[in-house]
Subunit: 390 residues, 3 copies
């Protein structure tokens, strides 16, 4: 042993060139050999099938950078006592006129014209009813009132007295939205969605107006999953219908629709295999059992000045459908680093094959004691050294 | 050797069934055995504790798709010399009336009414002072001026002469925003945030109006971390206060608040354990030592036409708080593929146990030379073959 | 064998302390030793170089939470027959006045003033020409018409007759946008982009107005990659030019620009090494061969009331550039868990070294039969037991 020590010190260089390799017992048996090869085949199938083919582990990936612009077209005609016969075009029903990845289409509205800052009686209700001025605290306000109380109790109608408020008068009536919706024709509006995507890592750009689409086709096509799957012009009714909803029902209270554009591109393949896939889904919840605060609406106003300089506004409670355009995507391209990493990790699993087969050999095989004897040597620290199984 | 070669060629089938297993030396020693089991226990504890329990490595995960709508309620009363007593409601102070994941509440403003396209003297300042027309270059403009110089030097006041500009006149005065803020009452405004989330991989949807919330509760509740943690209606003052800021101070110059909604859902658990957690944070920087360009404001105008058809506008420099609603979330559900991958990777660490123990056995143990002798055989390429340690 | 079984049952405790280590053959050869060390060096170089230094595998990472506000400055002068000489300021050309991560600058427009809800002849075209009332179906409308047909055929000009529609009249003329663009001066507008970022996991915040920037510098600096790379004020022309585009050309039909702010921060380094990098890119596609529906425009209207209460509007088809501000970023900081994981995974690759060297030893070396004989023992299930190679 001293010789060994000395030897190693003397020849450090030789030590450096030592190569250690495990001593191996080769068992020649059809049973365990078959199990061994089967396990190896499973691991290789996993590496090739799942890691390489399914997960494309040989590819470097990048996520999409996207830009979306939208343009809605269509006109609607309404006929109401307030407004008379009126045409609504895109400047009227898209609010605000441009957004980043979203557009809102007005489908229904309650309109309160000619509001001015003045005094008027509140709408009747448990909180606002009064019989004398003492019931109306001057200056009182809260989130559910439309204005600030002046402290007076006035006639709302012949029979009903309510507190007077300083507010935009006349007040908006608390009404359910009209059903059928006022802009029921919105279902025939079409929207052109222009979407450019880019994978910066691969310097690869693409847009959803595919190269084979020309202006003639674009001027008259409408998306249809069967006949025109590449047309980037969508009829609003079709978007809602594809999500399994009814446009007219949704238009009454409004809602939120998701237009999902998925760009999954394998850049090892020809570039024109990289096409968008459109799916549509209602994003707000219309769970019938949990229908608190349904739909989507907001209030906005148009401000005017009367001839005497007083500010007048038209208040609109607008119900409508907001379309959120969501662009997803992942591109992959062959790269040597992830390939090596995945193959390495896969080969690591080969070590498990030996564990499985050893367990089989040493537990189930007829000659297991023989194999154990040949595989294991024992050295015992407890007592005397023994060269073989004690 | 020739015999071995021939044999292998002849019985390729037999070769196929060869199973190689490493020959193993079993050391029976309490010390190294204990170290071995301890290391193995550590690895297993890591796999179970960190990978499985903490990181939930047995789950397939998906990130959230979210849709947010908001509705602010509340009124404010202002009393200024310019405007008189005036009520501000939601159509007045939410600009623009709808956005995708954000809403802006006006809290303070400088108003410049009755602007028309005309000529007026610039506001005094080092750049605009003049003594004669020669000081004012006709057509000169830059980003800091409000208009285009006409080339004339006119009286701004009795004593001060400034260059005349073609602009929206009268010009906006360069003033600090009013303090206290004009819409100080905005702190009592409430906002209903409706948030629907979806994990597409698991076809799982959820909204922040939880199933047990009914309309009665929703009509009067206000979020409070202690008493009403599930109420989706937030008082603006509370949002700002939870972020450690003072609403009145923030309202003067405006700012940006983040409303973070986190949905971390373990879908192996009952669905109603999946609830949103709200946190609030000021997003813009109010570092007092680095307070260049603080707050958030923007200019917008309301356009009118005078009786003679001239365009008039009211310019408003609006200060306010923008609330950005950010939805985060990850859902996990048991899946066999990540489970196997994580267990496999964990078992790979078992190989390190042998490295650690071997190092201990061969370096520290009393009988290390014996173990080395029994573990290693040597074959020397340098000189004659030697069967044992030279 | 029975003795072995019995022994194991009796001393289960002893079994527990069994430590198994592979028996190893040490080959002392310069060739294979060099290959072995070379492979090991490669693996270590990979772990240190790629995993630790390049990919910073010893760091825990977090993605950025960002808040962006923008403020555009500048005025433009237009001189048209419709509008006369007119000044455009920020309240006129930013639409809508505030957005979350985006701002739109109007650069060109077609204006149709004084529209009212009334009857007028359609613009001439193949669809709208008519010779008698029978050609115009009453109530007919579609997405390409501007209104609803009244059923009458009227004179558009002396020679041309078209169908009459109920619409916002007079109709917008189908014109190409003016070239040069009306707000050509928009190229000199500047925008202050305020961006605060936050890495919540590390409780680290940062803004793009760096600590060394004071108000004096901020009041006059303009971003320039060479001289003022830290100035957060950008001239629009520079943004477009850096993306390789021509502002004046882009301003005619509009477009979408991406302003990318990248915050890649190594938090093991001093905090002030964490600075934003700005890049600019045109996001919409201007592929000359695929120029269907180029640019970016939308319609919006300003609503007025005439003295007799009739609603009048000015319709504007606005062309312009939308600037989308995209904030990316990843921060890393030393953490013991990813460090151990990456080192562990790297060491797992060491196992591959043995595979490579074994293959070399057993296939290419002169004494391969000797090594094979010493490395492998055989046990044969097919026939009689044989202790050595048959």
């Amino acid at each position: 042993m001293a010789a060994s020590d000395k030897n190693c010190c003397v020849s450090l260089t030789r030590c450096f060139f030592d190569y250690s390799t495990p001593k191996t017992l080769v068992i020649r048996s059809k049973t365990v050999g078959a199990i061994n090869r089967l396990c190896q085949a499973l691991v290789i199938a996993y590496i090739i099938g799942y890691v390489c083919v399914w997960k494309k582990g040989y590819q470097d990936t990048d996520t999409v950078i996207s830009s979306v612009t939208t343009k809605v077209k269509g006109i609607a005609l309404t006929n109401t006592s307030d407004l008379g016969t009126r045409i609504w075009d895109v400047a009227d029903y898209i609010i605000p006129p441009q957004e980043e990845n979203s557009f809102f289409v007005l489908t229904n509205l309650n309109i309160t014209p000619n509001q001015t800052q003045s005094h008027c009686p509140e709408n009747p209700g448990p909180e606002s009813s009064c019989s004398s001025d003492q019931d109306c605290k001057k200056g009182f306000r809260n989130g559910r009132l439309s204005g600030v109380r002046t402290g007076r109790c006035v006639h709302f109608s012949e029979r009903i007295k309510t507190c007077e408020v300083l507010a935009w008068c006349p007040l908006e009536k608390y009404d359910e939205p009209p059903d059928p919706p006022m802009l029921a024709e919105a279902e025939n509006f079409t929207v052109l969605i222009k979407n450019s995507v880019r994978y910066p890592k691969f310097n690869f750009s693409r847009r959803n107006i595919l190269p084979h689409i020309n202006s003639t086709y674009l001027s008259k096509c409408v998306f249809s999953r069967d006949t025109d799957p590449d047309c980037p012009i969508f009829r609003l009714r079709d978007i809602v219908a594809e999500a399994g909803e009814d446009f007219q029902a949704m238009a009454v209270h409004g809602g939120v629709m998701g237009v999902q554009i998925r760009w999954d591109c394998d850049l090892d393949m020809p570039a024109n295999w990289c096409v968008p896939r459109y799916t549509f889904r209602r994003l707000d919840n219309k769970d019938p059992e949990n229908n608190v605060a349904p739909g989507y609406n907001f209030r906005f106003a148009k401000y005017y000045k009367s001839s005497n300089g007083e500010e007048i506004r038209t208040l609109i409670k607008g119900y409508g459908i907001r379309f959120d355009i969501m662009v997803f995507g992942k591109a992959g391209k062959f790269n040597v680093v992830p390939t090596l990493l995945n193959i390495g990790a896969g080969l690591g699993l080969m070590g498990l094959v030996t564990v499985v087969c050893d367990w089989f050999v040493l537990v189930f095989m007829r000659k297991r004691h023989l194999y154990r004897e040949r595989k294991y040597s024992y050295v015992d620290d407890f007592q005397l050294l023994s060269n073989e199984v004690p």
